[in-house]
Symmetry: D3
Subunit: 116 residues, 6 copies
């Protein structure tokens, strides 16, 4: 059951991204494009960049963004302790209002581990 | 099915607004009142004001506020390209954390078009 | 039915808090710990502190935090008018984007009253 | 010297508020008006309300709002320990990004004490 | 004296933008580029877009962004009442924490009128 | 002259931190304490953690927090390209409202390089 939250998230995300991109708004398309570029290998490696994306998403309290970066962190082979440390920094900087997002992040990470 | 998200949103909103206003807190009642006044014709026309409300709601990442203004935009006869341009500005100013709200906004707009 | 939203909230919260704490990240554990300390009697009494927690949660638009503090306010014997006044200040300071959270807060408070 | 930050803040605030109100925008005038009403005695006393205003301003990281409520707290006779406890709750809920505002709040409170 | 705040803002902005762009980070350069595109004539006219940019900047409480859009609004020939209405919507949606930014916005607009 | 912004920042920070800690509020003292622990070597190394702190501070638009982490990044030997990549991710995720903070960050980094 638990891995459904991964599939559900990805399906909705893919379906709506398709509709948004089909709409052909140039600004939005370019922002989507930048998103791919920004997280590819550069002066910093992909793992570090994904942890940056995760931490930024946590402090900004965006569950969907957290889920997206958790999945990429997972696929990149980051360990749970590494992800948890990044999230602990996010909780300290962002405060206890981050905690509800931390709960959902732990649930999503567990689903990622369960499904594989 | 998709137009249900419009009805569900409006029903819950109406039901809870009634309860809040029945509670007779003077400050809250006046804020609700201001809300009606602020978006009526003035130096700026209603369409422009609704686009302002939509853009502010997007960058503040308030899904219910976005839905409310999308519906009013739709009723005021704003075209999808106009709404999409306002949302593209919101995504640029507010960053990629706005994108999950953009997905739900596109879904809601589609529901508005489908139900009519 | 309505009291289910209280139980559901508390069950999920308890279950995930257990998992987070079992993970043994020192920073997160200490933040959870601080949370207990910060709201206990000091120069300010518990009721005042809970109202502070509620107001901060409202302006930061964190539904789960609002629910948590509403429940503690309720258990501490705060009256609905007192809670409503705190929330009216939050709505004024935080703006109309707080209103969707106000709706859910009223619904949750009603559930707290119904279940007892 | 230090009390100048109180005078400077109040002078600029008064001067600009006059200009804003002279501009006769109905919505803005009513919001200013609500502000006065919301913090007057009701189900909650003025001291509690000022602490709510202070805490909300801290977590939203608005220095001018913090200064305004610090001054009112001071005039209402709230003790430093009470104000510090409210601010400690704000720092816990809002996270370490609140700390720079805490520094400026302590400086302003000291100026309030020095000038009297 | 007052028009100095316009010149000071523009000089610092231009100087630092040059340094940032000279640094040749591809992501940042493209975001700067998008910024120019997003506010040019499209389905919505430039005036409307500038009001959207202003309102978004106000609710996100970014003084420099507000100043930038105020100046463009001024150059595009928007009237003070139009700008004030957009800012009143921002204050209602974003709450009283927007007011300190409203003060600085009024001061900047006055400087724009004075210098011409 | 430019390195003064580093010294000024550090002097004010140190002076006010002393006053805050002398005030003996237990919650605040523990949060300050956590701050030291969270950024020390763990599953993630110090450099990565500082980049996380910097990125979180950028998207939350806290200039003082950005300055603090820029200085630690500098002392830890992170290169400008690495820091710039972290900040580009912050600008993409947080949107163009991050740009004014990017300007001040570039100015501060330059001051760090100049003074050494």
């Amino acid at each position: 059951m638990q891995d459904n939250i991964v599939k559900e998230f990805n399906d909705y995300r893919a379906k709506m991204n398709d509709k948004i991109l089909a709409d052909n708004n140039k600004i939005i398309k370019r922002i989507f494009n930048l998103d791919t570029n920004a997280f590819s290998e550069g002066a910093l490696d992909v793992k570090t960049k994904e942890l940056l994306g995760l931490t930024a998403s946590m402090v900004l309290r965006c569950d969907d963004c957290v889920r997206y970066h958790l999945e990429t962190c997972y696929k990149e082979g980051l360990k749970k302790e590494e992800v948890a440390e990044a999230m602990s920094i996010a909780t300290l900087i962002g405060g206890t209002i981050v905690i509800p997002h931390l709960r959902r992040a732990y649930e999503f990470w567990e689903a990622l581990e369960t499904q594989s």
